[in-house]
């Protein structure tokens, strides 16, 4: 069967100039122009580098995204994930025609509209209703389309009472509600949804995310869905693109991509950041890593994920350390203790002989909500402490569907997640 491709992205790249654009632009412009009239390639296109924020490059040009290609079928819901700076926003900006690509081409068979930003073009002096029309038109709706949906939009925003009041008298929350309401009733062929815009109070957030899910799932609309939230991505999309430093790292089915997403991480937050001075004696914890069910090393975890903590211990002495217990204490970033995983609490003791040995702590479900945590780790034998490391590293947890309920536990209401039954 022939695939019905509605959107085709071919080798899209985008180059940015780093630093301020000031002195030198005219000379660069002249140089470019001089190369152009001689029919040569733009001299500044070659020297761009990958866009890794944390490493300093040599050139003042950088590729925000490089050689991105993919296809989207009609009715497909495609997830786009990647860490900060991976190029998601740049890609979306190019797709929504806000800025042009440096090289490459995008072909589409439908109108693209984005739920990228809400409230652009609100005029403070105009009333809520007038702004609905203006904002709707900016997003590409015609007056007739807006008129037909006006009741629904006002209703969804929950601002009925203030609809004839100038927007400058609105609270910031009301502005967001109104803006989102307009955007939510767009009906383009291809919709770009960026979940970051689910703002407002908890109640409205729920409403907004619900609406986004409804849009994505309903009536076979083609949707590009950008989110940091792995649970939402999993529940809404079947196919995903993983971006890393401006490149397409992988395209594939959502489950495997999300898995891979958790294995790429940032340099400054590491699972084990201790450099031991080489005393070469006694028992020493050499490394701690988090292994997922596919035996891959994870840089970040997801709530509810099955995980193994792998602890590497080296015994420099000839003697065997008997009846050792390994303990991991988990802390908030403000250093309040949350919980501890200790082998002696389940009466598990190890005899550690000379050389390197590995120990595993298996957790069925990561019991933390999204956030960054610290952990301490130690090896003890009853009263004696053989090795102890405070703030050994970070545990980065992304939100996930811990309860298998299709809902995400909100990090603002809870930290520790506990399996529960209600009757």
């Amino acid at each position: 069967m022939q695939k019905d491709i509605i959107l085709k992205v071919e080798n899209i790249s985008k180059q940015y100039r780093l630093g301020t654009i000031g002195t030198g632009t005219i000379s660069h412009d002249m140089n470019r122009w001089w190369h152009k009239i001689r029919g040569k390639e733009d001299p500044y296109l070659k020297i761009g580098e990958t866009n890794d924020r944390s490493t300093t490059g040599n050139s003042e040009y950088a590729w925000a995204i490089k050689d991105i290609s993919f296809e989207v079928e009609r009715g497909e819901v495609l997830g786009i994930i990647g860490k900060n700076g991976a190029g998601k926003s740049t890609l979306l900006k190019i797709l929504s025609k806000v800025t042009g690509p440096t090289t490459g081409e995008i072909k589409t068979k439908g109108r693209i509209a984005s739920l990228l930003e809400v409230g652009t073009g609100f005029h403070p002096e105009m009333t809520g209703k007038e702004n609905i029309f203006l904002n709707g038109a900016i997003l590409g709706m015609t007056k007739a389309e807006i008129n037909a949906k006006l009741e629904e939009i006002i209703d969804f925003s929950g601002c009925q009472r203030y609809i004839d009041t100038p927007v400058k008298r609105y609270s910031s929350g009301m502005k967001v509600r109104l803006a989102f309401a307009v955007a939510a009733f767009l009906e383009p062929d291809i919709l770009i949804v960026d979940e970051v815009l689910a703002v407002g109070d908890a109640e409205f957030q729920k409403k907004a995310i619900g609406k986004m899910q409804e849009i994505s799932k309903g009536d076979g609309r083609t949707v590009l869905f950008v989110s940091h939230n792995m649970a939402t991505i999993k529940s809404l999309t079947s196919k995903c693109i993983l971006l890393q430093n401006g490149y397409v790292k992988r395209i594939g089915d959502t489950a495997s991509i999300v898995e891979e997403y958790t294995t790429i991480g940032e340099g400054e937050l590491s699972t084990f950041k201790v450099k031991r001075e080489n005393k070469k004696k006694g028992l020493q914890i050499k490394n701690v890593s988090f292994i997922n069910s596919n035996n891959k090393d994870c840089k970040s975890l997801v709530s509810g994920q099955e995980i193994k903590v792998k602890i590497e211990v080296e015994n420099y002495d000839k003697e065997v350390y008997k009846k050792c217990s390994i303990g991991i204490g988990v802390f908030n970033l403000d250093n309040s203790m949350l919980t501890a995983f200790k082998s002696d609490s389940i009466n598990k003791y190890y005899d550690i002989s000379h050389g390197v040995s590995f120990f595993y702590c298996e957790l069925n479900k990561i019991p933390f909500t999204a956030g960054i945590y610290n952990y301490n780790i130690n090896i003890t034998s009853f009263a004696e402490v053989y090795d102890s490391i405070k703030e050994a590293g970070n545990i980065i947890v992304e939100s996930g569907d811990f309860y298998n309920s299709g809902k995400l536990p909100a990090a603002s209401h809870q930290i520790i997640l506990v399996n529960q039954k209600w009757r």
Partner: protein, 282 residues
């Protein structure tokens, strides 16, 4: 496999002339809403409201008349100085507002342009249209004073060619729009221009015969500044059509029309080239 038909293509390659009338037409509702916004929000929360539309040119004219005609004693021929200045100020204002209103298109709207796509040219177009409404109101003011002066027995007579006045309005609009689009495109890279613009517009006003009649320039070596200034012809024509007084020439008509068309096309060209990439440089 059959050739696939794409609705549109986003490409890094830029066509030299790439003006999509169909797309602009699709966004006509947005254009009208912007016009509405510009007109109704200018004088919100002022006591006099839309009255400011007429007070502004009125005050300017009174000041010009006091300074140039009463104090500096500049002769305006047979026309009452007040009417001479009012005709100049009203016409000049339309051009000036079109120019300055469009010249900062990219800079002023970068927040919205950076987030949503719509044909960028909608913005400058809306400025020209909303200024047209303003101009219409101010023209009404002119007519009121015109009738008053005729009633008082002044020797001003309208000209049969007054039916060509819409052409002059079009020329002013296109000239302001074209120049504004060129400047707005260049401002995205070289901000210096927006500072220069303020002085440029002021200077241009003096050599556009808004307050000073052509006779003043004739003998002092600055005549060329007026002779090659299309706006001088525009102002002079409008005065000729409205008041039956002023100099006209075939050269002036042709020169102004050609100049306008060239500037307008150039403006569209540069504007289109800029709109694709300005968000990265601004």
């Amino acid at each position: 496999m059959k050739e696939e038909s794409w609705l549109y293509t986003i490409s890094s390659k830029k066509k030299l002339i790439d003006f999509n009338f169909k797309e602009v037409w699709q966004y006509r509702d947005l254009l009208l809403l912007f016009v509405k916004r510009d007109v109704i929000t200018v004088y919100k929360q002022t006591v006099l409201g839309p009255l400011w539309f007429v007070i502004q040119p009125l005050f300017t004219t009174v000041i010009f008349t006091l300074v140039f005609n009463t104090i500096a004693n500049i002769d305006t021929g047979g026309i009452p100085p007040f009417l001479f200045n009012l005709a100049g100020v009203v016409s000049w204002n339309y051009f000036k507002e079109c120019l300055t209103g469009t010249a900062d298109t990219f800079k002023k709207n970068q927040a919205i342009f950076g987030k949503v796509y719509f044909p960028r040219v909608i913005m400058p177009l809306s400025v020209v249209l909303s200024n047209l409404i303003k101009f219409g109101i101010q023209l009404g003011l002119f007519v009121v004073f015109y009738l008053y002066f005729v009633y008082q027995g002044s020797l001003v007579r309208p000209n049969i060619y007054a039916i060509y006045f819409p052409v002059i309005i079009l020329v002013m609009g296109l000239l302001g729009l074209g120049t504004g689009m060129i400047i707005s495109s260049m401002v995205t890279k070289y901000r210096d221009l927006s500072f220069l613009l303020t002085f440029g517009v002021q200077l241009l006003m003096y050599i556009s015969l808004v307050t000073l009649p052509y006779s003043l320039f004739k003998d002092n070596g600055f005549a060329w500044a007026v002779d090659y200034n299309p706006m001088a012809y525009v102002i002079e024509f409008s005065r000729y059509l409205l008041l039956g007084e002023g100099t006209t020439s075939v050269f002036g008509v042709v020169y102004t029309l050609v100049f306008t068309v060239v500037v307008f096309l150039l403006g569209i060209l540069i504007f289109n080239k800029t709109e694709k990439s300005f968000i990265d440089t601004i």
